[in-house]
Protein backbone atom coordinates (compact mmCIF):
# COMPACT_ATOMS: atom_id res chain seq x y z
CA UNK A 1 0.00 0.00 0.00
CA UNK A 2 1.31 3.37 -0.95
CA UNK A 3 1.24 5.96 1.80
CA UNK A 4 0.31 9.43 0.61
CA UNK A 5 2.31 12.02 2.48
CA UNK A 6 0.65 15.40 2.96
CA UNK A 7 1.86 17.87 0.33
CA UNK A 8 3.36 21.07 1.64
CA UNK A 9 2.47 24.11 -0.39
CA UNK A 10 5.87 25.83 -0.32
CA UNK A 11 4.60 28.67 -2.49
CA UNK A 12 2.04 29.58 0.14
CA UNK A 13 4.75 29.64 2.81
CA UNK A 14 7.01 31.89 0.74
CA UNK A 15 6.85 35.49 1.93
CA UNK A 16 7.63 37.76 -1.06
CA UNK A 17 8.44 40.66 1.26
CA UNK A 18 11.04 38.58 3.10
CA UNK A 19 12.63 37.38 -0.14
CA UNK A 20 12.77 40.92 -1.53
CA UNK A 21 14.18 42.40 1.66
CA UNK A 22 16.87 39.73 1.99
CA UNK A 23 17.81 40.23 -1.64
CA UNK A 24 18.07 44.01 -1.19
CA UNK A 25 19.91 43.86 2.11
CA UNK A 26 22.57 41.39 1.06
CA UNK A 27 23.24 43.12 -2.23
CA UNK A 28 24.84 46.36 -1.06
CA UNK A 29 28.39 46.87 0.23
CA UNK A 30 26.92 47.65 3.68
CA UNK A 31 26.35 43.97 4.27
CA UNK A 32 29.94 42.65 4.13
CA UNK A 33 31.19 45.89 5.72
CA UNK A 34 28.87 45.52 8.71
CA UNK A 35 29.69 41.83 9.10
CA UNK A 36 33.43 42.49 8.98
CA UNK A 37 33.24 45.44 11.37
CA UNK A 38 31.03 43.48 13.76
CA UNK A 39 33.36 40.48 13.94
CA UNK A 40 36.45 42.70 14.15
CA UNK A 41 34.99 44.56 17.13
CA UNK A 42 34.04 41.36 18.97
CA UNK A 43 37.41 39.74 18.29
CA UNK A 44 39.18 42.97 19.31
CA UNK A 45 37.40 43.07 22.68
CA UNK A 46 38.30 39.42 23.36
CA UNK A 47 41.92 39.87 22.34
CA UNK A 48 42.44 43.07 24.35
CA UNK A 49 40.99 41.46 27.48
CA UNK A 50 43.13 38.34 27.03
CA UNK A 51 46.22 40.47 26.47
CA UNK A 52 45.51 42.44 29.71
CA UNK A 53 44.87 39.24 31.62
CA UNK A 54 48.14 37.63 30.48
CA UNK A 55 50.07 40.82 31.21
CA UNK A 56 48.71 40.94 34.78
CA UNK A 57 48.53 37.27 35.71
CA UNK A 58 50.97 35.55 33.35
CA UNK A 59 50.46 32.41 31.29
CA UNK A 60 50.20 30.29 34.42
CA UNK A 61 46.71 31.63 35.04
CA UNK A 62 45.35 29.84 31.96
CA UNK A 63 42.05 28.20 33.04
CA UNK A 64 38.24 28.39 33.20
CA UNK A 65 38.23 31.82 34.90
CA UNK A 66 39.77 33.62 31.92
CA UNK A 67 37.49 31.69 29.56
CA UNK A 68 34.40 32.67 31.52
CA UNK A 69 35.52 36.30 31.75
CA UNK A 70 36.19 36.61 28.02
CA UNK A 71 32.96 34.83 27.27
CA UNK A 72 31.04 37.21 29.51
CA UNK A 73 32.67 40.28 28.01
CA UNK A 74 31.97 39.08 24.50
CA UNK A 75 28.40 38.17 25.44
CA UNK A 76 27.76 41.64 26.93
CA UNK A 77 29.43 43.34 24.00
CA UNK A 78 27.46 41.22 21.50
CA UNK A 79 24.21 42.11 23.24
CA UNK A 80 25.09 45.81 23.09
CA UNK A 81 25.93 45.48 19.39
CA UNK A 82 22.67 43.64 18.68
CA UNK A 83 20.73 46.33 20.52
CA UNK A 84 22.60 48.97 18.56
CA UNK A 85 22.25 47.37 15.11
CA UNK A 86 18.64 46.10 15.31
CA UNK A 87 16.97 49.54 15.61
CA UNK A 88 19.02 50.75 12.65
CA UNK A 89 17.64 47.87 10.58
CA UNK A 90 14.00 48.09 11.65
CA UNK A 91 13.11 51.61 12.76
CA UNK A 92 12.46 52.85 9.22
CA UNK A 93 10.97 49.85 7.47
CA UNK A 94 7.36 51.07 7.23
CA UNK A 95 7.73 54.86 7.14
CA UNK A 96 10.72 54.35 4.83
CA UNK A 97 8.32 52.73 2.35
CA UNK A 98 6.00 55.71 2.83
CA UNK A 99 8.84 58.17 2.23
CA UNK A 100 9.94 56.31 -0.89
CA UNK A 101 6.29 56.32 -2.05
CA UNK A 102 6.27 52.57 -2.53
CA UNK A 103 3.81 51.81 0.25
CA UNK A 104 0.57 52.39 -1.69
CA UNK A 105 1.77 50.07 -4.43
CA UNK A 106 2.52 47.44 -1.83
CA UNK A 107 -0.82 47.81 -0.06
CA UNK A 108 -2.75 47.61 -3.32
CA UNK A 109 -1.51 44.02 -3.75
CA UNK A 110 -3.22 41.10 -1.97
CA UNK A 111 -0.21 40.79 0.33
CA UNK A 112 -1.74 40.92 3.85
CA UNK A 113 -0.36 43.55 6.26
CA UNK A 114 0.81 40.73 8.54
CA UNK A 115 3.00 39.35 5.71
CA UNK A 116 4.44 42.81 5.06
CA UNK A 117 5.21 43.46 8.74
CA UNK A 118 6.57 39.96 9.46
CA UNK A 119 8.57 39.94 6.24
CA UNK A 120 10.19 43.23 7.21
CA UNK A 121 10.88 42.09 10.77
CA UNK A 122 12.26 38.67 9.93
CA UNK A 123 14.51 39.96 7.18
CA UNK A 124 16.13 42.20 9.81
CA UNK A 125 16.22 39.44 12.41
CA UNK A 126 17.76 37.00 9.93
CA UNK A 127 20.45 39.60 9.37
CA UNK A 128 21.10 39.66 13.12
CA UNK A 129 20.98 35.86 13.19
CA UNK A 130 23.67 35.82 10.54
CA UNK A 131 25.81 38.16 12.69
CA UNK A 132 25.33 35.85 15.66
CA UNK A 133 26.14 32.73 13.64
CA UNK A 134 29.20 34.39 12.13
CA UNK A 135 30.44 35.18 15.65
CA UNK A 136 30.13 31.55 16.84
CA UNK A 137 33.71 30.60 15.87
CA UNK A 138 34.90 33.33 18.26
CA UNK A 139 32.95 31.71 21.07
CA UNK A 140 34.26 28.27 20.17
CA UNK A 141 37.74 29.49 21.15
CA UNK A 142 36.32 30.24 24.62
CA UNK A 143 35.37 26.56 25.02
CA UNK A 144 39.09 25.86 24.80
CA UNK A 145 39.45 27.56 28.20
CA UNK A 146 36.35 25.89 29.69
CA UNK A 147 33.93 27.39 32.25
CA UNK A 148 30.78 27.49 30.05
CA UNK A 149 28.41 24.65 29.28
CA UNK A 150 26.85 24.09 25.85
CA UNK A 151 23.43 24.29 27.47
CA UNK A 152 24.15 27.80 28.78
CA UNK A 153 25.54 28.78 25.42
CA UNK A 154 22.40 27.56 23.61
CA UNK A 155 20.13 29.52 25.98
CA UNK A 156 22.29 32.58 25.41
CA UNK A 157 21.95 32.38 21.61
CA UNK A 158 18.18 31.92 21.99
CA UNK A 159 18.11 34.93 24.29
CA UNK A 160 19.95 37.02 21.69
CA UNK A 161 17.36 36.06 19.11
CA UNK A 162 14.38 36.82 21.36
CA UNK A 163 15.99 40.13 22.30
CA UNK A 164 16.61 40.98 18.63
CA UNK A 165 13.02 40.08 17.71
CA UNK A 166 11.64 42.21 20.58
CA UNK A 167 13.81 45.22 19.73
CA UNK A 168 13.03 44.69 16.03
CA UNK A 169 9.30 44.57 16.76
CA UNK A 170 9.60 47.86 18.65
CA UNK A 171 11.45 49.37 15.68
CA UNK A 172 8.80 48.18 13.24
CA UNK A 173 6.08 49.48 15.57
CA UNK A 174 7.60 52.97 15.79
CA UNK A 175 8.16 53.01 12.03
CA UNK A 176 4.44 52.38 11.51
CA UNK A 177 3.40 54.82 14.24
CA UNK A 178 5.23 57.95 13.06
CA UNK A 179 5.67 59.31 9.54
CA UNK A 180 9.26 60.57 9.84
CA UNK A 181 12.07 58.03 9.78
CA UNK A 182 14.33 60.20 11.96
CA UNK A 183 11.68 60.37 14.68
CA UNK A 184 11.00 56.62 14.63
CA UNK A 185 14.75 55.95 14.85
CA UNK A 186 15.07 58.28 17.84
CA UNK A 187 12.05 56.67 19.54
CA UNK A 188 13.38 53.14 18.99
CA UNK A 189 16.84 53.98 20.28
CA UNK A 190 15.17 55.77 23.22
CA UNK A 191 13.20 52.63 24.08
CA UNK A 192 16.30 50.44 23.75
CA UNK A 193 18.29 52.85 25.90
CA UNK A 194 15.56 52.75 28.52
CA UNK A 195 15.56 48.93 28.56
CA UNK A 196 19.34 48.77 28.82
CA UNK A 197 20.24 51.73 31.03
CA UNK A 198 17.03 53.40 32.26
CA UNK A 199 15.92 50.24 34.01
CA UNK A 200 19.29 49.95 35.74
CA UNK A 201 19.07 53.53 37.00
CA UNK A 202 15.54 53.03 38.33
CA UNK A 203 16.47 49.65 39.86
CA UNK A 204 19.45 51.21 41.66
CA UNK A 205 17.23 54.00 42.99
CA UNK A 206 14.64 51.49 44.19
CA UNK A 207 17.35 49.38 45.80
CA UNK A 208 18.93 52.33 47.58
CA UNK A 209 15.75 54.11 48.68
CA UNK A 210 13.56 51.27 49.98
CA UNK A 211 15.25 47.93 49.30
CA UNK A 212 12.56 46.94 46.71
CA UNK A 213 9.71 47.82 49.08
CA UNK A 214 6.66 48.62 46.91
CA UNK A 215 8.50 47.80 43.65
CA UNK A 216 6.41 46.14 40.93
CA UNK A 217 7.28 42.45 40.87
CA UNK A 218 7.09 40.01 37.96
CA UNK A 219 7.42 36.41 39.11
CA UNK A 220 9.01 37.74 42.32
CA UNK A 221 11.62 39.72 40.37
CA UNK A 222 11.49 43.53 40.44
CA UNK A 223 10.09 44.66 37.05
CA UNK A 224 13.00 46.98 36.29
CA UNK A 225 15.43 44.11 36.77
CA UNK A 226 13.30 41.62 34.86
CA UNK A 227 13.12 43.71 31.68
CA UNK A 228 16.81 44.60 31.55
CA UNK A 229 18.39 42.49 28.77
CA UNK A 230 21.94 42.70 30.11
CA UNK A 231 20.89 41.47 33.52
CA UNK A 232 18.77 38.69 31.98
CA UNK A 233 21.74 37.57 29.91
CA UNK A 234 24.01 37.54 32.96
CA UNK A 235 21.43 35.47 34.84
CA UNK A 236 21.79 32.80 32.12
CA UNK A 237 25.46 32.55 32.96
CA UNK A 238 24.86 32.76 36.72
CA UNK A 239 22.90 29.49 36.63
CA UNK A 240 21.08 28.47 39.79
CA UNK A 241 23.29 30.38 42.21
CA UNK A 242 21.74 33.73 41.23
CA UNK A 243 25.12 35.44 41.62
CA UNK A 244 27.76 36.15 39.03
CA UNK A 245 31.20 37.74 38.97
CA UNK A 246 31.24 40.24 36.09
CA UNK A 247 34.71 41.24 34.85
CA UNK A 248 35.53 44.93 35.42
CA UNK A 249 32.29 45.32 37.47
CA UNK A 250 32.32 42.84 40.34
CA UNK A 251 29.71 40.50 41.73
CA UNK A 252 26.07 40.92 40.72
CA UNK A 253 23.39 39.07 42.62
CA UNK A 254 19.75 38.72 41.56
CA UNK A 255 17.72 40.98 43.85
CA UNK A 256 15.38 39.01 46.00
CA UNK A 257 12.70 40.94 47.86
CA UNK A 258 12.50 40.12 51.54
CA UNK A 259 10.65 36.91 52.34
CA UNK A 260 10.58 35.63 48.73
CA UNK A 261 13.92 33.86 48.55
CA UNK A 262 12.23 30.45 48.17
CA UNK A 263 10.28 31.59 45.07
CA UNK A 264 13.05 33.04 42.93
CA UNK A 265 12.76 32.46 39.17
CA UNK A 266 15.91 33.09 37.09
CA UNK A 267 15.57 36.61 35.67
CA UNK A 268 16.10 35.52 32.06
CA UNK A 269 12.95 33.38 32.11
CA UNK A 270 10.86 36.34 33.19
CA UNK A 271 12.60 38.54 30.61
CA UNK A 272 11.86 36.11 27.78
CA UNK A 273 8.19 36.09 28.80
CA UNK A 274 8.05 39.90 28.97
CA UNK A 275 9.82 40.25 25.62
CA UNK A 276 7.47 37.69 24.07
CA UNK A 277 4.43 39.68 25.20
CA UNK A 278 6.08 42.93 24.07
CA UNK A 279 6.79 41.45 20.63
CA UNK A 280 3.24 40.16 20.14
CA UNK A 281 1.76 43.49 21.30
CA UNK A 282 4.03 45.58 19.05
CA UNK A 283 3.39 43.40 16.00
CA UNK A 284 -0.37 43.27 16.51
CA UNK A 285 -0.63 47.06 16.81
CA UNK A 286 1.70 47.49 13.82
CA UNK A 287 -0.43 45.21 11.64
CA UNK A 288 -3.53 47.20 12.64
CA UNK A 289 -1.73 50.48 11.89
CA UNK A 290 -0.55 49.28 8.49
CA UNK A 291 -3.90 47.93 7.28
CA UNK A 292 -5.63 50.72 5.31
CA UNK A 293 -9.03 49.17 5.95
CA UNK A 294 -9.64 48.78 9.68
CA UNK A 295 -9.99 44.98 10.12
CA UNK A 296 -12.42 45.31 13.04
CA UNK A 297 -14.57 47.70 11.05
CA UNK A 298 -14.37 45.31 8.10
CA UNK A 299 -15.67 42.40 10.17
CA UNK A 300 -18.51 44.49 11.58
CA UNK A 301 -19.50 45.72 8.11
CA UNK A 302 -19.35 42.21 6.70
CA UNK A 303 -21.56 40.95 9.52
CA UNK A 304 -24.00 43.83 8.95
CA UNK A 305 -24.09 43.12 5.20
CA UNK A 306 -24.78 39.43 5.88
CA UNK A 307 -27.59 40.38 8.26
CA UNK A 308 -29.11 42.68 5.63
CA UNK A 309 -28.89 39.92 3.03
CA UNK A 310 -30.59 37.49 5.36
CA UNK A 311 -33.36 40.01 6.09
CA UNK A 312 -33.96 40.46 2.35
CA UNK A 313 -34.07 36.68 1.87
CA UNK A 314 -36.51 36.29 4.74
CA UNK A 315 -38.68 39.06 3.32
CA UNK A 316 -38.68 37.39 -0.13
Amino acid sequence: MKIQLPQINWRALRNPMLVKELRSRTRTWHFPALLTGYLALLAGVGLVYYYLWVRNAGYGSFGPRVGLDIFMLLAIFQLILINFVTPALTSNVINGERERQTFDLLLSTPLPPAAIVLGKLFSSVSYILLLILASLPLYSIIFFFGGISLHQFFILVCFYLVNAIAVGAMGVFFSALVRKTQLSTVLTYGAVLFLNLGTVAIAILQRISNDWEGAVLLFHTPLMVAINPVYAMLSVLAGTSGAIQVPLVGQIRQPIPAGLSHLVTPAWQTTLLVYGVLTVACLTITILLVDPIDPVDRLLKRRRAKGEEQNVRTAV
Partner: protein
Protein backbone atom coordinates in the same frame (compact mmCIF):
# COMPACT_ATOMS: atom_id res chain seq x y z
CA UNK B 1 -17.23 46.56 -13.42
CA UNK B 2 -17.29 49.46 -10.92
CA UNK B 3 -20.27 50.72 -8.98
CA UNK B 4 -20.03 53.62 -6.57
CA UNK B 5 -22.97 54.60 -4.36
CA UNK B 6 -23.16 57.82 -2.36
CA UNK B 7 -19.47 57.80 -1.57
CA UNK B 8 -18.31 60.48 0.86
CA UNK B 9 -14.97 61.09 2.48
CA UNK B 10 -14.24 63.66 5.15
CA UNK B 11 -10.82 64.88 6.29
CA UNK B 12 -11.45 66.82 9.49
CA UNK B 13 -14.04 69.41 8.53
CA UNK B 14 -13.35 69.20 4.82
CA UNK B 15 -15.46 66.94 2.63
CA UNK B 16 -13.15 65.64 -0.07
CA UNK B 17 -16.00 63.62 -1.57
CA UNK B 18 -19.65 64.42 -1.21
CA UNK B 19 -22.21 61.77 -2.19
CA UNK B 20 -20.48 60.62 -5.34
CA UNK B 21 -22.23 57.90 -7.36
CA UNK B 22 -21.28 56.50 -10.73
CA UNK B 23 -20.85 53.30 -12.68
CA UNK B 24 -18.10 52.14 -15.00
CA UNK B 25 -19.23 49.52 -17.52
CA UNK B 26 -17.08 46.52 -18.45
CA UNK B 27 -14.42 47.18 -21.07
CA UNK B 28 -14.72 50.95 -21.12
CA UNK B 29 -11.96 53.50 -20.73
CA UNK B 30 -13.30 55.89 -18.14
CA UNK B 31 -11.67 59.28 -17.82
CA UNK B 32 -11.93 60.81 -14.38
CA UNK B 33 -11.65 64.53 -14.85
CA UNK B 34 -11.38 67.38 -12.40
CA UNK B 35 -9.12 70.15 -11.19
CA UNK B 36 -6.50 69.55 -8.50
CA UNK B 37 -8.16 68.85 -5.15
CA UNK B 38 -11.48 67.90 -6.74
CA UNK B 39 -11.48 64.42 -5.18
CA UNK B 40 -10.15 62.27 -8.04
CA UNK B 41 -7.28 60.69 -6.10
CA UNK B 42 -9.48 60.15 -3.03
CA UNK B 43 -12.05 58.29 -5.15
CA UNK B 44 -9.40 56.18 -6.85
CA UNK B 45 -7.73 55.38 -3.53
CA UNK B 46 -11.05 54.19 -2.12
CA UNK B 47 -11.54 51.98 -5.18
CA UNK B 48 -8.00 50.65 -4.72
CA UNK B 49 -8.87 49.80 -1.06
CA UNK B 50 -6.24 52.20 0.24
CA UNK B 51 -8.72 54.50 1.96
CA UNK B 52 -11.89 53.90 3.88
CA UNK B 53 -14.86 56.06 2.88
CA UNK B 54 -16.63 58.02 5.60
CA UNK B 55 -19.92 56.80 4.15
CA UNK B 56 -21.23 55.15 1.03
CA UNK B 57 -20.16 51.98 -0.72
CA UNK B 58 -18.23 50.91 -3.79
CA UNK B 59 -17.93 47.62 -5.63
CA UNK B 60 -15.30 46.38 -8.04
CA UNK B 61 -16.34 43.34 -10.06
CA UNK B 62 -19.02 42.63 -7.47
CA UNK B 63 -16.66 42.78 -4.46
CA UNK B 64 -17.26 45.55 -1.94
CA UNK B 65 -14.11 47.59 -1.29
CA UNK B 66 -14.35 47.81 2.51
CA UNK B 67 -15.64 44.32 3.30
CA UNK B 68 -13.71 42.32 0.67
CA UNK B 69 -10.53 44.35 0.05
CA UNK B 70 -8.42 41.29 -0.83
CA UNK B 71 -10.89 40.18 -3.51
CA UNK B 72 -10.84 43.73 -4.92
CA UNK B 73 -7.02 43.85 -4.90
CA UNK B 74 -6.86 40.71 -7.04
CA UNK B 75 -9.11 42.34 -9.63
CA UNK B 76 -7.29 45.66 -9.92
CA UNK B 77 -3.98 47.07 -11.04
CA UNK B 78 -3.34 50.40 -9.35
CA UNK B 79 -0.89 53.06 -10.39
CA UNK B 80 -0.74 56.09 -8.07
CA UNK B 81 0.00 59.64 -9.20
CA UNK B 82 3.31 59.70 -7.35
CA UNK B 83 5.18 56.52 -6.71
CA UNK B 84 8.66 55.30 -5.98
CA UNK B 85 10.50 52.17 -6.95
CA UNK B 86 12.80 49.80 -5.11
CA UNK B 87 16.00 51.14 -6.58
CA UNK B 88 18.12 48.21 -5.38
CA UNK B 89 16.21 45.77 -7.58
CA UNK B 90 16.60 44.97 -11.26
CA UNK B 91 13.61 45.33 -13.60
CA UNK B 92 12.93 41.58 -13.69
CA UNK B 93 13.31 41.26 -9.92
CA UNK B 94 10.89 44.15 -9.48
CA UNK B 95 8.28 42.37 -11.57
CA UNK B 96 9.04 39.08 -9.82
CA UNK B 97 8.42 40.64 -6.42
CA UNK B 98 4.98 41.90 -7.42
CA UNK B 99 4.17 38.66 -9.26
CA UNK B 100 4.85 36.71 -6.07
CA UNK B 101 2.79 39.24 -4.10
CA UNK B 102 -0.11 38.21 -6.37
CA UNK B 103 0.83 34.56 -5.80
CA UNK B 104 1.53 33.98 -9.48
CA UNK B 105 3.22 30.72 -10.38
CA UNK B 106 6.81 31.82 -11.01
CA UNK B 107 7.52 28.78 -13.19
CA UNK B 108 5.93 30.65 -16.10
CA UNK B 109 7.47 33.97 -15.17
CA UNK B 110 9.93 34.20 -18.07
CA UNK B 111 7.25 34.29 -20.77
CA UNK B 112 5.01 36.52 -18.69
CA UNK B 113 7.70 39.10 -17.97
CA UNK B 114 8.90 39.02 -21.56
CA UNK B 115 5.37 39.76 -22.79
CA UNK B 116 4.88 42.54 -20.27
CA UNK B 117 8.21 44.19 -21.03
CA UNK B 118 7.47 43.93 -24.76
CA UNK B 119 4.11 45.63 -24.20
CA UNK B 120 5.69 48.56 -22.37
CA UNK B 121 8.73 48.59 -24.66
CA UNK B 122 11.31 47.84 -21.96
CA UNK B 123 12.61 44.52 -23.28
CA UNK B 124 16.18 45.77 -23.46
CA UNK B 125 16.08 46.99 -19.84
CA UNK B 126 15.21 43.64 -18.23
CA UNK B 127 18.51 43.42 -16.33
CA UNK B 128 18.90 47.13 -15.60
CA UNK B 129 18.56 48.45 -12.07
CA UNK B 130 15.24 50.22 -11.65
CA UNK B 131 16.87 53.43 -10.42
CA UNK B 132 18.77 53.79 -13.70
CA UNK B 133 15.51 54.11 -15.68
CA UNK B 134 14.15 57.47 -16.81
CA UNK B 135 10.89 58.77 -15.38
CA UNK B 136 8.94 57.70 -18.46
CA UNK B 137 10.45 54.21 -18.30
CA UNK B 138 9.57 53.96 -14.62
CA UNK B 139 5.96 54.92 -15.44
CA UNK B 140 5.86 52.21 -18.09
CA UNK B 141 7.44 49.69 -15.73
CA UNK B 142 4.81 50.56 -13.13
CA UNK B 143 2.15 49.92 -15.76
CA UNK B 144 3.73 46.53 -16.49
CA UNK B 145 3.66 45.86 -12.76
CA UNK B 146 -0.08 46.70 -12.73
CA UNK B 147 -0.64 44.10 -15.44
CA UNK B 148 1.41 41.32 -13.89
CA UNK B 149 -1.68 39.46 -12.62
CA UNK B 150 -3.84 40.27 -15.65
CA UNK B 151 -6.35 42.41 -13.73
CA UNK B 152 -9.88 43.15 -14.94
CA UNK B 153 -9.60 46.80 -13.98
CA UNK B 154 -6.75 49.28 -14.20
CA UNK B 155 -6.87 52.32 -11.94
CA UNK B 156 -4.39 54.88 -13.21
CA UNK B 157 -4.03 58.12 -11.31
CA UNK B 158 -2.47 60.78 -13.55
CA UNK B 159 -0.31 58.26 -15.43
CA UNK B 160 1.23 60.92 -17.65
CA UNK B 161 2.10 63.45 -14.95
CA UNK B 162 5.68 64.65 -15.01
CA UNK B 163 6.44 63.07 -18.38
CA UNK B 164 8.04 64.87 -21.30
CA UNK B 165 5.97 65.23 -24.52
CA UNK B 166 7.49 62.15 -26.14
CA UNK B 167 6.87 59.97 -23.08
CA UNK B 168 3.31 61.33 -22.92
CA UNK B 169 2.63 60.27 -26.48
CA UNK B 170 4.09 56.83 -25.75
CA UNK B 171 1.97 56.49 -22.62
CA UNK B 172 -1.15 57.50 -24.57
CA UNK B 173 -0.37 54.84 -27.17
CA UNK B 174 0.03 52.28 -24.44
CA UNK B 175 -3.30 53.18 -22.88
CA UNK B 176 -5.01 52.92 -26.27
CA UNK B 177 -3.48 49.46 -26.60
CA UNK B 178 -4.90 48.46 -23.22
CA UNK B 179 -8.32 49.72 -24.30
CA UNK B 180 -8.08 47.53 -27.40
CA UNK B 181 -7.15 44.55 -25.19
CA UNK B 182 -10.58 44.92 -23.60
CA UNK B 183 -9.35 46.06 -20.18
CA UNK B 184 -11.57 48.32 -18.14
CA UNK B 185 -9.50 51.39 -17.35
CA UNK B 186 -10.19 54.28 -15.00
CA UNK B 187 -7.75 57.04 -15.70
CA UNK B 188 -7.63 60.38 -13.97
CA UNK B 189 -6.10 63.46 -15.45
CA UNK B 190 -6.54 67.18 -15.63
CA UNK B 191 -5.08 67.31 -19.12
CA UNK B 192 -8.31 66.87 -21.01
CA UNK B 193 -6.98 66.77 -24.54
CA UNK B 194 -5.16 63.57 -23.61
CA UNK B 195 -8.28 61.91 -22.30
CA UNK B 196 -10.52 62.90 -25.21
CA UNK B 197 -8.51 60.67 -27.52
CA UNK B 198 -8.64 57.50 -25.44
CA UNK B 199 -11.78 57.63 -23.28
CA UNK B 200 -15.15 56.16 -24.11
CA UNK B 201 -16.75 57.48 -20.92
CA UNK B 202 -15.95 60.30 -18.53
CA UNK B 203 -16.75 61.39 -15.03
CA UNK B 204 -16.34 65.06 -14.19
CA UNK B 205 -15.76 65.86 -10.53
CA UNK B 206 -15.62 69.30 -9.01
CA UNK B 207 -15.20 70.21 -5.33
CA UNK B 208 -15.89 66.63 -4.30
CA UNK B 209 -19.14 66.41 -6.27
CA UNK B 210 -19.70 64.46 -9.43
CA UNK B 211 -20.95 66.81 -12.10
CA UNK B 212 -21.31 64.33 -14.93
CA UNK B 213 -20.76 60.64 -15.56
CA UNK B 214 -21.47 58.87 -18.83
CA UNK B 215 -20.33 58.43 -22.43
CA UNK B 216 -18.10 61.16 -23.86
CA UNK B 217 -20.48 61.59 -26.82
CA UNK B 218 -23.40 62.32 -24.48
CA UNK B 219 -21.28 64.88 -22.63
CA UNK B 220 -20.60 66.62 -25.92
CA UNK B 221 -24.31 66.63 -26.67
CA UNK B 222 -25.02 68.32 -23.37
CA UNK B 223 -23.10 71.36 -24.61
CA UNK B 224 -25.76 74.00 -25.04
CA UNK B 225 -23.79 77.12 -25.68
CA UNK B 226 -20.52 78.47 -26.97
CA UNK B 227 -20.52 76.07 -29.94
CA UNK B 228 -18.75 77.35 -33.00
CA UNK B 229 -19.75 76.13 -36.44
CA UNK B 230 -17.81 76.43 -39.67
CA UNK B 231 -19.98 76.57 -42.80
CA UNK B 232 -18.62 76.61 -46.35
CA UNK B 233 -20.95 77.82 -49.11
CA UNK B 234 -20.97 77.41 -52.84
CA UNK B 235 -21.33 80.80 -54.49
CA UNK B 236 -21.81 84.19 -52.80
CA UNK B 237 -21.98 84.11 -49.01
CA UNK B 238 -23.97 87.33 -48.52
CA UNK B 239 -27.39 85.55 -48.58
CA UNK B 240 -26.13 82.98 -46.14
CA UNK B 241 -24.82 85.75 -43.85
CA UNK B 242 -28.15 87.53 -43.90
CA UNK B 243 -30.07 84.29 -43.27
CA UNK B 244 -27.86 83.29 -40.35
CA UNK B 245 -27.88 86.75 -38.75
CA UNK B 246 -31.64 86.49 -38.45
CA UNK B 247 -31.69 82.85 -37.35
CA UNK B 248 -32.69 82.02 -33.79
CA UNK B 249 -29.74 80.90 -31.67
CA UNK B 250 -27.06 82.50 -33.80
CA UNK B 251 -25.05 84.94 -31.70
CA UNK B 252 -22.42 85.99 -34.16
CA UNK B 253 -21.50 85.46 -37.81
CA UNK B 254 -17.96 85.99 -39.10
CA UNK B 255 -16.78 85.65 -42.68
CA UNK B 256 -13.48 83.97 -43.38
CA UNK B 257 -12.39 84.55 -46.97
CA UNK B 258 -14.96 84.41 -49.79
CA UNK B 259 -16.84 81.23 -49.03
CA UNK B 260 -16.36 80.37 -45.38
CA UNK B 261 -18.46 81.44 -42.40
CA UNK B 262 -17.80 81.01 -38.70
CA UNK B 263 -20.98 81.01 -36.66
CA UNK B 264 -21.32 81.21 -32.88
CA UNK B 265 -24.40 79.11 -32.29
CA UNK B 266 -26.40 78.29 -29.17
CA UNK B 267 -28.00 74.92 -29.60
CA UNK B 268 -27.47 71.19 -29.33
CA UNK B 269 -26.88 68.74 -32.18
CA UNK B 270 -30.57 68.57 -33.06
CA UNK B 271 -30.65 72.34 -33.42
CA UNK B 272 -27.57 72.15 -35.66
CA UNK B 273 -29.31 69.57 -37.83
CA UNK B 274 -32.35 71.86 -38.16
CA UNK B 275 -30.07 74.76 -39.08
CA UNK B 276 -28.54 72.76 -41.95
CA UNK B 277 -32.01 71.81 -43.21
CA UNK B 278 -33.21 75.43 -43.01
CA UNK B 279 -30.13 76.69 -44.85
CA UNK B 280 -30.70 74.19 -47.65
CA UNK B 281 -34.42 74.98 -47.61
CA UNK B 282 -33.57 78.67 -48.05
CA UNK B 283 -31.69 77.78 -51.25
CA UNK B 284 -28.19 78.24 -49.83
CA UNK B 285 -25.76 75.70 -51.28
CA UNK B 286 -23.54 74.26 -48.53
CA UNK B 287 -20.38 72.31 -49.29
CA UNK B 288 -19.33 71.65 -45.68
CA UNK B 289 -20.71 72.07 -42.16
CA UNK B 290 -18.67 71.23 -39.09
CA UNK B 291 -18.21 71.98 -35.43
CA UNK B 292 -15.12 73.86 -34.39
CA UNK B 293 -13.87 73.19 -30.86
CA UNK B 294 -16.44 71.54 -28.66
CA UNK B 295 -13.85 69.30 -27.07
CA UNK B 296 -13.68 67.85 -23.57
CA UNK B 297 -12.17 71.04 -22.24
CA UNK B 298 -15.24 73.00 -23.32
CA UNK B 299 -17.52 70.38 -21.80
CA UNK B 300 -15.56 70.47 -18.56
CA UNK B 301 -15.54 74.26 -18.38
CA UNK B 302 -19.24 74.50 -19.08
CA UNK B 303 -20.35 71.80 -16.67
CA UNK B 304 -18.16 72.98 -13.81
CA UNK B 305 -19.22 76.58 -14.42
CA UNK B 306 -22.85 75.49 -14.18
CA UNK B 307 -22.15 73.88 -10.79
CA UNK B 308 -20.25 76.92 -9.55
CA UNK B 309 -23.11 79.16 -10.62
CA UNK B 310 -25.72 77.12 -8.74
Amino acid sequence: MVRVENLSKRYGRHWALDNVSFEVPDGCVYGFVGPNGAGKTTTLKILATLLEPTSGRAWVGGAEVTTSPYAVRRKIGYMPDFFGVYDDLRVLEYLEFYASAYDIDLSRKEQLFQDLLALVDLEDKADAYVDTLSRGMKQRLCLARCLVHDPDLLILDEPASGLDPRARVEMRGLLKELGKMGKTVIISSHILTELSEICTDIGIIHNGRLVYSGPVADAMNRMTRGRDLEIACLGPIAPACAFLAAYQGVRQVKTIGDQLLQVAFEGDREAQSRLVADLVGAGIAITSFREVGGNLEDVFMQLTAEVAGR
